[in-house]
Each structure stands twice: as structure tokens, then as C-alpha cells.
């Protein structure tokens, strides 16, 4: 029978740089790959004509917008994963002292 009276291992919080890095870097990498694959098939100018023909978007601007939109999406996913992987102890904290 497992002894549930022993507290389970609770990893201490990691340094801020590590947390931000673990969210931003994999998402940056994925966004880069996604941008490359996406724009290998889609010309930003063709996309502009389909969506916002009245805006003067150049190819370079199209690539840039595309990359940052991909990065926003992948970073959002990474952030979500980080929140879900935080151990319960981070949430089950005592109430802050009253002001």
C-alpha cells in the first residue's frame, strides 16, 4: 500500500529567465518553421489582394506580420502549457495577509 502521508515531490520555482526562455524560444523556433513553410506556398501579395486590397502591404511587411502572428500563436500555446504544468502547490497557497 502506498503511503500517501508523505508529501509528494514539489519542484521549486525555476528562475525567471528560464521560464521566459522556455516559453519564448520553442515558440520562436516553431513560428520560424511555420512562417517558412507557409510563405513557401503563399505569396504575401496574393494574400493581401484576397484580404485587405486597399492596404499597401509590401512582401517584406507581409513576411514580418506573418512571422509575428505565428509567434504570437505559438507563444500563446507555450504560455498555456506552462500554466497547466505548474504544480498544484503554486495555486494552493495560503491567503495573502490582509491589508
Amino acid at each position: 500500500m502506498t503511503d500517501y502521508t508523505l508529501p509528494r515531490f514539489d519542484h521549486p520555482p525555476r528562475p525567471m529567465a528560464q521560464r521566459i526562455g522556455a516559453i519564448m524560444w520553442p515558440s520562436f523556433f516553431s513560428a520560424g518553421v511555420a512562417t517558412m513553410v507557409f510563405f513557401a506556398f503563399v505569396d504575401p501579395l496574393a494574400l493581401r489582394d484576397l484580404t485587405f486590397p486597399e492596404l499597401s502591404i509590401t512582401r517584406e511587411l507581409g513576411y514580418t506580420i506573418g512571422f509575428f502572428m505565428f509567434w504570437l500563436a505559438t507563444a500563446g500555446a507555450s504560455l498555456f502549457t506552462w500554466i497547466l504544468l505548474r504544480p498544484a502547490a503554486r495555486f494552493n497557497k495560503p491567503l495573502p495577509p490582509e491589508r
Binding site: T2, Y4, T5, F9, L84, A89, N92, P94
Partner: protein
């Protein structure tokens, strides 16, 4: 080099670093909160399963017609151009969630979340086929036999039928459901079959197997809901001042509310809870409560075990552990508010039942605020309630105004991008456009198209009147003509209005003459 490497043997049956989730067998309980939850289940699932069958003006009342890119919700119809209302509606929904969380805690989780609602129904089916908590635990431990096969088989049959019906209803929101039913299942298209099966599978998996794990490990709201909480928010709370020290006793002792002992001092009471959590009694350990201790810093080590208490020192908690057994997420609410708690109130109903049996007043576990538990006044009206409330009111009013004041006409002008202008002889130039007119009304309309432009630019062929059927999208080629003495870019405005002048739209565009 004969140094021994220090090794530690992990308990082979547990305490290993990897541990699979233990199954929770929530014990059935009846009471006030459970009745409300049942009402919520019937109302919400009634809406889900019933709405696709309602009719409105000869069509399905609630239909999200994706192929036609039109959403019908009773008397309202939404077009892709009304996307902003959908976005606004989602923002309103989020604010409603924040507002009610601030005031009354996790009402959403306990009563309204599809995860909770469907899990509840799946649990009923499990109880019908496999019996109560103890029987279910026994059945799972028993070797496979006819009885187990029959019980488990009938459970899964019920689950499967219900899940498939759920999938069918889900697709019925996107394809007219009567027609979908008539074609079932062999004449369904590939996508319809896929979504029926996929949604059925998701229902079956989420409500049948994942259950509380969705709340604990997958739900974002569970992770951030505490940001809306303060000491004046309604929570499911155990009163340690009254309950501690916990312990079994015969029917010899009255409630502390009627005894000389009275309520404990909060510091003392919370210390007792914390020490009890660190050194559980045999009964507490046997129910294997999950979750953490929210009342004290988990960094505190070397907690002294509890002494043996005299009978008259005991609080009102008889340590029957029923509150843990009924918990659908398997936590011990006596350890304080935990993020795993979905505020279903099962422990309240269970504890009230036990209090009745031992002759103590209700409310050892109750729906209350932290301030009230600590014997301080609760403030309902506080800045965050006003901020959420005002934002919510503004957005709702804005949404209602926007939806009711939509113009039932969309007009857009696309310039022909192939040529800037065309010389057509007898000293005139022309520009070509495509005029897009969408009649969003549910009856046909006649529109007058006119032009407002400088420098003698006119509509080739003059003003004209066109007719659009109900909800028709028209694409009209239009040409503007001007004398070739007109140079450069000119701003022109197309005007589209109904013959009675009730609805009108102006669309700016540009005309190019020779440079």
C-alpha cells in the same frame, strides 16, 4: 575508488516519482446543492438537446449554417460581417464569468460547465449500472466474470448511446437536424459522420474517463479563477474554529456551539488543521485525499503530530471522511480552499446530513466567505464588483444596441484592378467597378444606385434600380464615365438606398482619369 554511491530505494508499490492518477469514486449524496445541480443539468442539457428541434419562421430556430456562412439564433440572423458581435459576445461571456466568480466563486464549475454537467449524467449512469461508491470500488477490484462484464458492458452501452446522441445533436446545430435525422446514418456525408463520431468520442472520454482531471490539469479557468477571489467571495468553506480538533466520538457529546468549549481561536484552529493534514489519522489516510493544504505554507517542515485530545476538547468534526468520499475531485475541503475545488457543494450536503445524524447544527462546511468564517463582516459591494458590473452593463447595452441597429444592407465597391482607366472614344474615359450588394433582410428589397462625384463623372447608363431577393448577395459590374479632360485621382461616392429611403449606405471609392 571504493566509495559507495548513495542510493535510495523507491517504494515499489508507490511513492515513485511517477504515479498514475487514481480513480475517484464519488459517493452519491442528496441535499440542497445537489438538487440545484440536478436542476442545472436538466435546464442546460435541455437547452442543448432541445434547441435544434425548435422552429422559427419556417426554419430551424438555432442554426449555425457554416456552408452558407449565416448564423440563425431565433429571430436574429448573423452574417460574416457581424463577426464583431460574436467577438463582443465572447467578451461579455468572459466578463459574466469574472463578475459571478468575484461574488459567488466558482458557480460556473459547479453548475454550468459542460464538463461538470456531462460528468454528472455519466456518473448517474455509472450508478444505475454499477451501484454506489463501495460497490463500484469492489467491482473494479473483482476479477472479470459474468456480473462484472454485464455491469461494465451495460454502463458503456448507456454511455455510448448517450454520447452518440450528443454527437448527433451537436452536428444538428450546423446541419438542419430533422433532415440529418432522416438521413441517419448511412446517407450522412463524410464530414457529418466524422463530427458525430468525434464529438461522441470526446463526450465519452471527457465525461466517462477524464472527469476531474480535465478540471485539474486541462482547465485554464481553474488556474486563474483565484485572481477574481478575495476574502468576500463565496467559497465552500470548512469552519475549523468549530470543527477542530476532529475526532470520532460516541453520541455523548453536544455541539461546541452548545458546550463550554465554544469556538477556537483562528490561529490555533488553522494550526490544528495543518498538523492534521501533515499527520493524517488512519481514517483520513484511507480515503486518500488529493490536493494540497491551502491554509499554511507548504514549505514548513517538521510539523509536530497532534496530541491525544480529551473528549470535551473535541470540535464538531467527527472525522467520518464523508466529505472527502463525496468529492468529485477527491480533495479534503477541511484543508482549506484549494484550486481543485469546483464548488459543487457535495461536501456541504454530505456534512449537513452527518450533522443531522449526530444531532449537531448544520454548517460545519458551508457556502460562505473567508471573512464570515473568520468571524468578520462580509462586504458584497466592493470596487471590483463595481468595475466588472459596470463594464458588463456597458458591453451588454452596446451589444443590444448594435444588434438591433444593424443596417440590413451591405454595400461594397471593388475597383477593377486590371486597368486604371479605359479610353472609350468620343472624348470619354471609363473606370470599372464591381458593386457588391447584400440584402440581409428576410424579405426582398429594391435598391436605387446613384453617384455623388465631382467633375462630370457619371454612372454609365445613369441611375438604376435593382432588386435583391431575401438574403441575396448581388455582384453588379458598374462603370463610371467622365470626359477625358478630367485628370488624376478623384474621390467618388456610390449611394445605395432602398426605394423608400429607409436604409441607405454610402461607399467611397476613387476614379482615375489620364495622368
Amino acid at each position: 575508488m571504493n566509495k559507495k554511491i548513495a542510493i535510495e530505494l523507491l517504494d515499489s508499490s508507490g511513492n515513485s516519482l511517477y504515479e498514475s492518477e487514481r480513480k475517484i469514486y464519488p459517493r452519491d449524496v442528496a441535499g440542497r446543492f445537489q438538487s440545484w445541480r440536478k436542476v442545472a443539468v436538466f435546464v442546460l442539457l435541455g437547452i442543448f438537446y432541445g434547441f435544434p428541434w425548435l422552429r422559427w419562421d419556417g426554419r430551424q430556430a438555432v442554426l449555425f449554417d457554416l456552408p452558407a456562412r449565416k448564423f440563425y439564433v431565433f429571430g436574429l440572423s448573423f452574417w460574416p460581417q457581424d463577426f464583431v458581435f460574436l467577438a463582443l459576445l465572447l467578451i461579455i461571456a468572459a466578463l459574466v464569468l469574472f463578475f459571478f466568480t468575484t461574488i459567488a466563486g466558482r458557480l460556473w464549475c459547479g453548475y454550468a460547465c459542460p464538463q461538470t454537467v456531462w460528468t454528472e449524467v455519466f456518473l448517474w449512469m455509472e450508478q444505475w449500472t454499477e451501484g454506489d461508491r463501495n460497490r463500484r470500488m469492489k467491482l473494479d477490484k473483482a476479477p472479470w466474470g459474468v456480473n462484472k462484464l454485464l455491469r461494465k458492458g451495460s454502463k458503456h452501452l448507456l454511455w455510448l448511446v448517450f454520447a452518440l446522441w450528443t454527437g448527433f445533436t451537436f452536428v444538428g446545430f450546423f446541419t438542419p437536424i430533422t433532415e440529418l435525422g432522416a438521413r441517419a446514418p448511412w446517407q450522412w456525408s463524410g464530414w457529418e459522420s466524422f463530427w458525430v463520431l468525434f464529438y461522441a468520442l470526446a463526450t465519452w472520454g471527457n465525461a466517462g474517463f477524464l472527469r476531474e482531471q480535465v478540471c485539474k490539469y486541462m482547465c485554464p479557468y481553474a488556474r486563474f479563477q483565484s485572481a477574481m477571489f478575495d476574502r468576500n467571495t463565496l467559497i465552500i468553506a470548512y469552519d475549523p474554529m468549530r470543527g477542530e480538533p476532529r475526532g470520532p466520538r460516541g453520541r455523548v457529546l453536544g455541539s461546541v456551539l452548545q458546550r463550554a468549549r465554544g469556538l477556537l481561536d483562528p490561529g490555533m484552529a488553522y494550526d490544528l488543521v495543518f498538523r492534521a493534514a501533515q499527520h493524517p489519522t488512519a481514517a483520513d489516510a484511507a480515503v486518500q485525499a488529493r490536493g494540497g493544504t491551502a491554509i499554511a505554507d507548504s514549505g514548513i517542515k517538521d510539523v509536530a503530530p497532534l496530541p491525544k485530545f480529551e473528549l470535551d476538547q473535541l470540535g464538531d468534526c467527527i472525522d467520518c471522511t464523508i466529505c472527502v468520499q463525496v468529492c468529485p475531485t477527491g480533495i479534503d475541503i477541511r484543508n482549506g480552499l484549494q484550486y481543485e475545488c469546483i464548488a459543487c457543494g457535495a461536501c456541504i450536503d454530505a456534512c449537513d446530513e452527518v450533522m443531522d445524524k449526530v444531532g449537531y447544527p448544520h454548517g460545519l462546511i458551508r457556502y460562505s466567505t473567508q471573512n464570515a468564517i473568520d468571524g468578520k463582516p462580509t462586504r458584497v459591494l466592493r470596487p471590483r464588483v463595481f468595475v466588472y458590473g459596470l463594464l458588463l452593463l456597458t458591453l451588454c447595452a452596446g451589444w443590444a444596441w448594435g444588434v438591433s441597429h444593424r443596417i440590413p444592407l451591405i454595400a461594397e465597391v471593388l475597383r477593377d484592378r486590371n486597368a486604371l482607366y479605359r479610353v472609350v472614344g468620343d472624348g470619354r474615359v471609363e473606370n470599372s467597378y464591381t458593386l457588391k450588394i447584400i440584402n440581409k433582410d428576410s424579405k426582398p428589397q429594391r435598391y436605387r444606385i446613384s453617384l455623388q462625384a465631382p467633375g462630370g463623372i457619371v454612372l454609365a447608363g445613369g441611375e438604376r434600380t435593382i432588386e435583391a431577393a431575401a438574403e441575396e448577395v448581388l455582384s453588379l459590374p458598374v462603370s463610371l464615365s467622365a470626359p477625358d479632360s478630367l485628370h488624376g485621382k478623384q474621390t467618388v461616392t456610390f449611394k445605395v438606398e432602398t426605394l423608400d429611403g429607409q436604409t441607405r449606405k454610402s461607399v467611397p471609392s476613387s476614379f482615375f482619369g489620364p495622368m
